[in-house]
Amino acid sequence: MKNIIVNKKEDQTPYQVSLGELFDGPMDLLVHLVKKNELDIYDIPIALITQQYMEYLEWLKSVNIDVAGEFLVMAATLTHIKSRMLLPVQEQEGDDEDPRMEIIRPLAEYLQLKYAAEDLMERDRLDWDVFLRADLDDAEASFAGDPAGLAQVGLFELIDAFQDIVKRASPKYFLDITPDAISVKSRISQIADILEDQGSAAFPELFEAEATREDIIVTFLAILEMAKLQLIRIMQHIESGIIRIFNG
Protein backbone atom coordinates (compact mmCIF):
# COMPACT_ATOMS: atom_id res chain seq x y z
CA MET A 1 0.00 0.00 0.00
CA LYS A 2 1.28 3.44 -0.84
CA ASN A 3 1.81 6.30 1.53
CA ILE A 4 -1.34 6.91 3.44
CA ILE A 5 -0.58 10.33 4.73
CA VAL A 6 -1.43 12.65 1.92
CA ASN A 7 0.30 15.90 1.43
CA LYS A 8 -2.41 18.50 1.32
CA LYS A 9 -0.89 20.39 -1.57
CA GLU A 10 0.03 17.40 -3.68
CA ASP A 11 -3.43 16.04 -4.05
CA GLN A 12 -4.78 19.18 -5.55
CA THR A 13 -5.07 19.52 -9.25
CA PRO A 14 -2.50 21.91 -10.65
CA TYR A 15 -4.03 25.15 -11.78
CA GLN A 16 -4.13 25.37 -15.55
CA VAL A 17 -3.37 28.86 -16.69
CA SER A 18 -4.92 29.85 -19.93
CA LEU A 19 -4.59 33.41 -21.13
CA GLY A 20 -8.30 34.03 -21.05
CA GLU A 21 -8.51 33.43 -17.35
CA LEU A 22 -5.26 35.09 -16.37
CA PHE A 23 -7.07 37.78 -14.48
CA ASP A 24 -10.57 37.57 -13.32
CA GLY A 25 -11.03 41.31 -13.36
CA PRO A 26 -9.33 44.60 -12.73
CA MET A 27 -9.30 44.05 -8.95
CA ASP A 28 -7.58 40.76 -9.46
CA LEU A 29 -4.95 42.38 -11.65
CA LEU A 30 -4.37 45.09 -9.06
CA VAL A 31 -3.90 42.49 -6.33
CA HIS A 32 -1.38 40.73 -8.52
CA LEU A 33 0.60 43.95 -9.07
CA VAL A 34 0.57 44.93 -5.40
CA LYS A 35 1.72 41.45 -4.50
CA LYS A 36 4.41 41.28 -7.18
CA ASN A 37 5.92 44.55 -5.98
CA GLU A 38 5.52 43.57 -2.33
CA LEU A 39 3.69 46.79 -1.60
CA ASP A 40 1.83 47.81 1.50
CA ILE A 41 -1.71 48.10 0.25
CA TYR A 42 -2.36 51.06 2.55
CA ASP A 43 0.53 52.95 0.97
CA ILE A 44 0.38 52.17 -2.72
CA PRO A 45 2.75 54.18 -4.96
CA ILE A 46 0.01 55.11 -7.36
CA ALA A 47 2.29 56.20 -10.22
CA LEU A 48 4.08 52.86 -10.25
CA ILE A 49 0.90 50.83 -10.08
CA THR A 50 -0.79 52.90 -12.77
CA GLN A 51 2.19 52.49 -15.06
CA GLN A 52 2.38 48.72 -14.55
CA TYR A 53 -1.37 48.38 -14.92
CA MET A 54 -1.25 50.18 -18.27
CA GLU A 55 1.67 48.04 -19.40
CA TYR A 56 -0.36 44.96 -18.63
CA LEU A 57 -3.29 46.17 -20.65
CA GLU A 58 -0.96 46.95 -23.56
CA TRP A 59 0.57 43.52 -23.30
CA LEU A 60 -2.82 41.84 -23.19
CA LYS A 61 -3.84 43.75 -26.30
CA SER A 62 -0.61 42.81 -28.06
CA VAL A 63 -1.33 39.10 -27.55
CA ASN A 64 -4.84 39.62 -28.85
CA ILE A 65 -6.62 39.29 -25.56
CA ASP A 66 -9.76 41.29 -25.57
CA VAL A 67 -9.52 43.78 -22.76
CA ALA A 68 -12.95 44.05 -21.25
CA GLY A 69 -14.50 47.41 -20.47
CA GLU A 70 -14.16 47.04 -16.72
CA PHE A 71 -10.34 46.98 -17.08
CA LEU A 72 -10.53 50.30 -18.89
CA VAL A 73 -12.74 51.81 -16.21
CA MET A 74 -10.13 50.87 -13.63
CA ALA A 75 -7.41 52.39 -15.81
CA ALA A 76 -9.34 55.65 -15.85
CA THR A 77 -9.79 55.54 -12.08
CA LEU A 78 -6.07 54.99 -11.51
CA THR A 79 -5.15 57.80 -13.87
CA HIS A 80 -7.59 60.10 -12.15
CA ILE A 81 -6.14 59.29 -8.71
CA LYS A 82 -2.64 59.81 -10.03
CA SER A 83 -3.54 63.27 -11.35
CA ARG A 84 -5.16 64.23 -8.06
CA MET A 85 -2.01 63.16 -6.22
CA LEU A 86 -0.03 65.62 -8.31
CA LEU A 87 -2.15 68.58 -7.23
CA PRO A 88 -0.82 70.58 -4.31
CA VAL A 89 -2.60 69.75 -1.08
CA GLN A 90 -4.93 72.51 -0.07
CA GLU A 91 -4.41 72.86 3.61
CA GLN A 92 -7.62 74.75 4.23
CA GLU A 93 -9.71 71.72 3.46
CA GLY A 94 -9.16 69.62 6.54
CA ASP A 95 -11.37 66.78 5.36
CA ASP A 96 -9.40 66.25 2.19
CA GLU A 97 -8.53 62.57 2.38
CA ASP A 98 -5.80 60.74 0.53
CA PRO A 99 -7.10 60.36 -3.06
CA ARG A 100 -5.71 56.84 -3.05
CA MET A 101 -8.39 55.78 -0.60
CA GLU A 102 -10.74 55.59 -3.58
CA ILE A 103 -8.89 52.51 -4.71
CA ILE A 104 -7.42 51.29 -1.40
CA ARG A 105 -10.76 50.82 0.31
CA PRO A 106 -12.35 48.52 -2.28
CA LEU A 107 -9.03 46.78 -2.79
CA ALA A 108 -8.72 46.01 0.92
CA GLU A 109 -12.24 44.68 1.05
CA TYR A 110 -11.69 42.58 -2.05
CA LEU A 111 -8.50 41.13 -0.57
CA GLN A 112 -10.24 40.32 2.67
CA LEU A 113 -12.91 38.36 0.83
CA LYS A 114 -10.29 36.61 -1.25
CA TYR A 115 -8.67 35.40 1.94
CA ALA A 116 -12.08 34.32 3.19
CA ALA A 117 -12.59 32.31 0.00
CA GLU A 118 -9.26 30.60 0.66
CA ASP A 119 -10.22 29.81 4.22
CA LEU A 120 -13.40 28.23 2.95
CA MET A 121 -11.52 26.16 0.40
CA GLU A 122 -9.29 24.85 3.15
CA ARG A 123 -12.17 23.37 5.07
CA ASP A 124 -13.00 19.71 4.60
CA ARG A 125 -15.20 20.00 1.58
CA LEU A 126 -17.97 17.55 0.89
CA ASP A 127 -17.30 15.21 -2.04
CA TRP A 128 -13.74 16.45 -2.14
CA ASP A 129 -12.25 15.73 1.29
CA VAL A 130 -15.12 13.99 3.01
CA PHE A 131 -17.81 11.78 1.58
CA LEU A 132 -21.25 10.54 2.49
CA ARG A 133 -22.69 7.10 2.39
CA ALA A 134 -23.95 6.28 -1.08
CA ASP A 135 -27.67 6.65 -1.52
CA LEU A 136 -28.49 2.96 -1.77
CA ASP A 137 -31.57 2.03 -3.65
CA ASP A 138 -32.43 -0.83 -1.34
CA ALA A 139 -35.93 -2.24 -1.16
CA GLU A 140 -36.27 -1.02 2.42
CA ALA A 141 -36.00 2.52 1.20
CA SER A 142 -39.03 2.58 -1.05
CA PHE A 143 -41.71 4.08 1.11
CA ALA A 144 -44.59 6.17 0.04
CA GLY A 145 -44.02 9.81 0.74
CA ASP A 146 -46.10 11.59 3.30
CA PRO A 147 -48.28 14.07 1.41
CA ALA A 148 -48.04 16.53 4.27
CA GLY A 149 -44.28 16.87 4.29
CA LEU A 150 -42.79 18.16 1.08
CA ALA A 151 -39.13 18.61 0.40
CA GLN A 152 -38.04 22.19 0.15
CA VAL A 153 -37.58 22.87 -3.54
CA GLY A 154 -35.32 25.45 -4.99
CA LEU A 155 -37.08 28.21 -6.87
CA PHE A 156 -34.60 27.54 -9.57
CA GLU A 157 -36.18 24.18 -10.21
CA LEU A 158 -39.52 25.89 -10.67
CA ILE A 159 -38.07 28.30 -13.19
CA ASP A 160 -36.33 25.41 -14.90
CA ALA A 161 -39.57 23.54 -15.25
CA PHE A 162 -41.26 26.61 -16.63
CA GLN A 163 -38.43 27.41 -18.98
CA ASP A 164 -38.61 23.95 -20.47
CA ILE A 165 -42.28 24.43 -21.15
CA VAL A 166 -41.75 27.80 -22.73
CA LYS A 167 -39.15 26.26 -25.00
CA ARG A 168 -41.56 23.53 -26.06
CA ALA A 169 -44.61 25.75 -26.42
CA SER A 170 -45.52 27.20 -29.75
CA PRO A 171 -44.19 30.71 -30.29
CA LYS A 172 -47.77 31.88 -30.78
CA TYR A 173 -48.43 31.17 -27.14
CA PHE A 174 -45.17 32.60 -25.95
CA LEU A 175 -45.44 34.04 -22.51
CA ASP A 176 -44.34 37.48 -21.70
CA ILE A 177 -44.23 37.78 -17.98
CA THR A 178 -43.95 41.38 -17.10
CA PRO A 179 -43.67 42.46 -13.48
CA ASP A 180 -47.00 44.30 -13.83
CA ALA A 181 -48.85 41.17 -14.84
CA ILE A 182 -47.34 39.33 -11.92
CA SER A 183 -48.40 42.04 -9.51
CA VAL A 184 -52.00 41.56 -10.58
CA LYS A 185 -51.68 37.80 -10.23
CA SER A 186 -50.19 38.18 -6.81
CA ARG A 187 -52.94 40.53 -5.74
CA ILE A 188 -55.58 38.08 -7.00
CA SER A 189 -54.01 35.41 -4.86
CA GLN A 190 -53.99 37.69 -1.81
CA ILE A 191 -57.60 38.69 -2.28
CA ALA A 192 -58.53 35.02 -2.63
CA ASP A 193 -56.77 34.45 0.70
CA ILE A 194 -58.76 37.18 2.38
CA LEU A 195 -62.04 35.92 0.97
CA GLU A 196 -61.19 32.37 1.95
CA ASP A 197 -60.65 33.51 5.54
CA GLN A 198 -63.49 35.98 5.88
CA GLY A 199 -65.98 35.01 3.21
CA SER A 200 -66.34 38.63 2.20
CA ALA A 201 -64.58 41.95 2.42
CA ALA A 202 -65.61 45.56 2.17
CA PHE A 203 -64.36 47.11 -1.05
CA PRO A 204 -62.28 49.82 0.65
CA GLU A 205 -60.78 47.20 2.97
CA LEU A 206 -58.95 45.71 0.03
CA PHE A 207 -57.20 49.01 -0.61
CA GLU A 208 -56.32 49.83 2.95
CA ALA A 209 -52.78 48.55 2.95
CA GLU A 210 -52.03 50.11 -0.41
CA ALA A 211 -49.74 53.04 -0.40
CA THR A 212 -48.88 53.97 -3.95
CA ARG A 213 -51.10 54.85 -6.84
CA GLU A 214 -49.68 51.91 -8.72
CA ASP A 215 -50.65 49.50 -5.94
CA ILE A 216 -54.20 50.81 -5.97
CA ILE A 217 -54.44 50.30 -9.71
CA VAL A 218 -53.07 46.78 -9.35
CA THR A 219 -55.67 45.95 -6.72
CA PHE A 220 -58.41 47.38 -8.87
CA LEU A 221 -57.27 45.40 -11.92
CA ALA A 222 -57.14 42.28 -9.75
CA ILE A 223 -60.72 42.81 -8.62
CA LEU A 224 -61.87 43.40 -12.20
CA GLU A 225 -60.10 40.27 -13.37
CA MET A 226 -61.64 38.22 -10.58
CA ALA A 227 -65.07 39.58 -11.37
CA LYS A 228 -64.63 38.76 -15.03
CA LEU A 229 -63.69 35.21 -14.09
CA GLN A 230 -66.63 35.09 -11.70
CA LEU A 231 -64.35 34.31 -8.82
CA ILE A 232 -66.06 37.02 -6.80
CA ARG A 233 -69.44 38.67 -6.55
CA ILE A 234 -69.60 42.40 -6.00
CA MET A 235 -72.61 43.62 -4.01
CA GLN A 236 -73.64 47.02 -2.80
CA HIS A 237 -75.70 47.67 0.30
CA ILE A 238 -78.75 49.68 -0.77
CA GLU A 239 -78.90 52.00 2.19
CA SER A 240 -75.29 52.50 3.25
CA GLY A 241 -73.93 52.28 -0.27
CA ILE A 242 -71.02 50.15 0.96
CA ILE A 243 -69.66 47.78 -1.64
CA ARG A 244 -68.71 44.30 -0.47
CA ILE A 245 -66.81 41.61 -2.31
CA PHE A 246 -67.95 38.01 -1.80
CA ASN A 247 -66.39 34.69 -2.59
CA GLY A 248 -67.86 33.64 -5.95
Binding site: L132, P147, L158
Partner: protein, 180 residues
Protein backbone atom coordinates in the same frame (compact mmCIF):
# COMPACT_ATOMS: atom_id res chain seq x y z
CA UNK B 1 -7.95 0.74 14.56
CA UNK B 2 -5.13 0.45 12.09
CA UNK B 3 -5.07 2.48 8.93
CA UNK B 4 -5.80 -0.34 6.52
CA UNK B 5 -8.94 -1.31 8.39
CA UNK B 6 -10.10 2.29 8.69
CA UNK B 7 -9.50 2.93 5.00
CA UNK B 8 -11.43 -0.18 4.05
CA UNK B 9 -14.22 0.92 6.38
CA UNK B 10 -14.36 4.31 4.67
CA UNK B 11 -14.49 2.60 1.26
CA UNK B 12 -17.30 0.31 2.39
CA UNK B 13 -19.11 3.38 3.67
CA UNK B 14 -19.12 5.21 0.34
CA UNK B 15 -19.40 2.28 -2.06
CA UNK B 16 -22.61 2.15 -4.05
CA UNK B 17 -22.55 -1.60 -4.59
CA UNK B 18 -21.18 -4.48 -2.51
CA UNK B 19 -17.40 -4.12 -2.53
CA UNK B 20 -15.40 -7.06 -3.84
CA UNK B 21 -11.97 -7.88 -2.46
CA UNK B 22 -10.57 -7.52 -5.96
CA UNK B 23 -11.87 -3.98 -6.12
CA UNK B 24 -10.33 -3.08 -2.77
CA UNK B 25 -7.04 -4.55 -3.96
CA UNK B 26 -7.01 -2.38 -7.03
CA UNK B 27 -7.99 0.79 -5.20
CA UNK B 28 -5.31 0.29 -2.56
CA UNK B 29 -2.78 -0.92 -5.14
CA UNK B 30 -1.84 -3.89 -3.05
CA UNK B 31 -1.49 -7.58 -3.74
CA UNK B 32 -2.03 -8.54 -0.12
CA UNK B 33 -5.37 -10.27 -0.34
CA UNK B 34 -4.99 -11.80 3.10
CA UNK B 35 -4.52 -8.44 4.80
CA UNK B 36 -7.74 -7.20 3.20
CA UNK B 37 -9.79 -10.21 4.17
CA UNK B 38 -8.35 -10.11 7.70
CA UNK B 39 -9.39 -6.47 7.95
CA UNK B 40 -12.89 -7.29 6.69
CA UNK B 41 -13.25 -10.13 9.19
CA UNK B 42 -12.07 -7.93 11.98
CA UNK B 43 -14.57 -5.19 11.01
CA UNK B 44 -17.41 -7.70 10.87
CA UNK B 45 -16.49 -8.95 14.34
CA UNK B 46 -16.23 -5.46 15.78
CA UNK B 47 -19.66 -4.49 14.45
CA UNK B 48 -21.09 -7.68 15.89
CA UNK B 49 -19.48 -7.62 19.32
CA UNK B 50 -19.91 -3.86 19.69
CA UNK B 51 -23.56 -4.31 18.75
CA UNK B 52 -23.37 -1.30 16.50
CA UNK B 53 -26.25 0.13 14.47
CA UNK B 54 -24.97 -1.68 11.40
CA UNK B 55 -23.27 -4.93 10.41
CA UNK B 56 -21.06 -6.15 7.61
CA UNK B 57 -23.07 -8.15 5.11
CA UNK B 58 -21.51 -10.43 2.54
CA UNK B 59 -23.70 -10.06 -0.52
CA UNK B 60 -23.39 -10.64 -4.23
CA UNK B 61 -19.77 -11.65 -3.92
CA UNK B 62 -18.84 -8.48 -2.06
CA UNK B 63 -19.13 -6.68 1.25
CA UNK B 64 -21.54 -3.98 2.29
CA UNK B 65 -22.33 -2.17 5.52
CA UNK B 66 -26.05 -2.42 6.24
CA UNK B 67 -28.22 -1.29 9.08
CA UNK B 68 -29.16 -3.95 11.59
CA UNK B 69 -32.55 -5.53 10.78
CA UNK B 70 -33.68 -5.17 14.41
CA UNK B 71 -33.83 -1.43 13.88
CA UNK B 72 -35.92 -1.55 10.75
CA UNK B 73 -38.95 0.00 12.41
CA UNK B 74 -37.01 3.15 13.36
CA UNK B 75 -35.39 3.44 10.00
CA UNK B 76 -38.74 3.06 8.31
CA UNK B 77 -40.12 5.82 10.50
CA UNK B 78 -37.26 8.07 9.56
CA UNK B 79 -37.79 7.40 5.86
CA UNK B 80 -41.54 7.79 6.10
CA UNK B 81 -41.18 11.28 7.43
CA UNK B 82 -38.72 12.08 4.70
CA UNK B 83 -40.20 14.93 2.75
CA UNK B 84 -41.44 13.77 -0.61
CA UNK B 85 -40.03 15.38 -3.68
CA UNK B 86 -42.27 16.77 -6.36
CA UNK B 87 -42.14 14.84 -9.61
CA UNK B 88 -41.01 16.48 -12.79
CA UNK B 89 -44.61 16.49 -14.07
CA UNK B 90 -45.82 18.12 -10.87
CA UNK B 91 -43.11 20.78 -11.06
CA UNK B 92 -44.07 21.56 -14.64
CA UNK B 93 -47.75 21.88 -13.91
CA UNK B 94 -47.04 23.88 -10.78
CA UNK B 95 -44.79 26.29 -12.61
CA UNK B 96 -47.46 26.91 -15.25
CA UNK B 97 -50.06 27.57 -12.59
CA UNK B 98 -47.70 29.82 -10.65
CA UNK B 99 -46.81 31.97 -13.62
CA UNK B 100 -50.07 31.96 -15.54
CA UNK B 101 -52.67 31.96 -12.78
CA UNK B 102 -55.63 32.19 -12.74
CA UNK B 103 -55.51 29.30 -15.17
CA UNK B 104 -57.62 26.42 -16.51
CA UNK B 105 -56.69 22.77 -16.67
CA UNK B 106 -56.90 23.08 -20.46
CA UNK B 107 -54.25 25.83 -20.37
CA UNK B 108 -51.95 23.59 -18.37
CA UNK B 109 -52.54 20.72 -20.74
CA UNK B 110 -52.09 22.90 -23.81
CA UNK B 111 -48.71 24.05 -22.57
CA UNK B 112 -47.52 20.69 -21.31
CA UNK B 113 -48.98 18.81 -24.26
CA UNK B 114 -50.20 15.97 -22.02
CA UNK B 115 -53.22 15.12 -19.93
CA UNK B 116 -52.63 16.66 -16.52
CA UNK B 117 -55.71 15.66 -14.52
CA UNK B 118 -53.78 13.32 -12.21
CA UNK B 119 -50.99 15.81 -11.69
CA UNK B 120 -53.43 18.59 -10.78
CA UNK B 121 -55.16 16.27 -8.34
CA UNK B 122 -51.85 15.53 -6.63
CA UNK B 123 -51.06 19.23 -6.38
CA UNK B 124 -54.52 19.89 -4.94
CA UNK B 125 -54.09 17.09 -2.38
CA UNK B 126 -50.78 18.53 -1.33
CA UNK B 127 -52.38 21.90 -0.91
CA UNK B 128 -50.08 23.63 -3.38
CA UNK B 129 -52.86 24.72 -5.72
CA UNK B 130 -56.53 25.48 -5.15
CA UNK B 131 -59.69 25.96 -7.11
CA UNK B 132 -60.39 29.65 -7.39
CA UNK B 133 -63.75 29.23 -9.06
CA UNK B 134 -65.30 28.30 -12.38
CA UNK B 135 -65.09 30.01 -15.71
CA UNK B 136 -68.22 30.99 -17.59
CA UNK B 137 -67.57 28.65 -20.47
CA UNK B 138 -69.36 25.50 -21.60
CA UNK B 139 -68.79 22.87 -18.94
CA UNK B 140 -67.85 25.61 -16.44
CA UNK B 141 -64.19 24.59 -16.17
CA UNK B 142 -62.36 25.06 -12.87
CA UNK B 143 -59.95 27.94 -12.49
CA UNK B 144 -56.76 27.15 -10.56
CA UNK B 145 -54.30 29.24 -8.59
CA UNK B 146 -51.50 28.67 -6.11
CA UNK B 147 -51.94 28.62 -2.33
CA UNK B 148 -50.21 29.98 0.72
CA UNK B 149 -48.50 26.59 1.13
CA UNK B 150 -47.02 27.09 -2.31
CA UNK B 151 -45.44 30.34 -1.15
CA UNK B 152 -44.16 28.61 1.99
CA UNK B 153 -42.69 25.70 0.06
CA UNK B 154 -40.71 28.05 -2.13
CA UNK B 155 -39.97 30.45 0.66
CA UNK B 156 -41.68 33.35 -1.10
CA UNK B 157 -43.27 36.35 0.58
CA UNK B 158 -45.80 36.75 -2.21
CA UNK B 159 -46.13 35.99 -5.90
CA UNK B 160 -44.32 39.19 -6.77
CA UNK B 161 -41.20 37.50 -5.54
CA UNK B 162 -41.41 34.81 -8.21
CA UNK B 163 -38.41 35.28 -10.43
CA UNK B 164 -39.36 36.07 -14.00
CA UNK B 165 -37.71 34.55 -17.01
CA UNK B 166 -36.30 37.98 -17.61
CA UNK B 167 -34.48 37.85 -14.26
CA UNK B 168 -32.85 34.68 -15.42
CA UNK B 169 -32.00 36.05 -18.82
CA UNK B 170 -30.45 39.07 -17.10
CA UNK B 171 -27.95 36.85 -15.36
CA UNK B 172 -26.74 35.70 -18.75
CA UNK B 173 -25.07 32.40 -19.47
CA UNK B 174 -23.48 30.29 -16.82
CA UNK B 175 -19.82 30.91 -16.44
CA UNK B 176 -17.95 28.64 -18.87
CA UNK B 177 -15.13 27.96 -16.41
CA UNK B 178 -17.44 26.46 -13.85
CA UNK B 179 -17.46 22.99 -15.25
CA UNK B 180 -20.16 21.15 -13.46
Amino acid sequence: MDDLKAIIESLLFVAETPLKIEKIKSVLETEDRTAISDALNSLAEEYESGKRGFFLAEVAGGFQIRTRPEYRQWIRRLKETRPARLSRAAMEALSIIAYKQPVLRSDVEYLRGVDSGGTLRTLLERGLIRMLGRKDLPGRPIIYGTTRQFLELFDLKDLNELPTLKDLADLGETWPNDSM
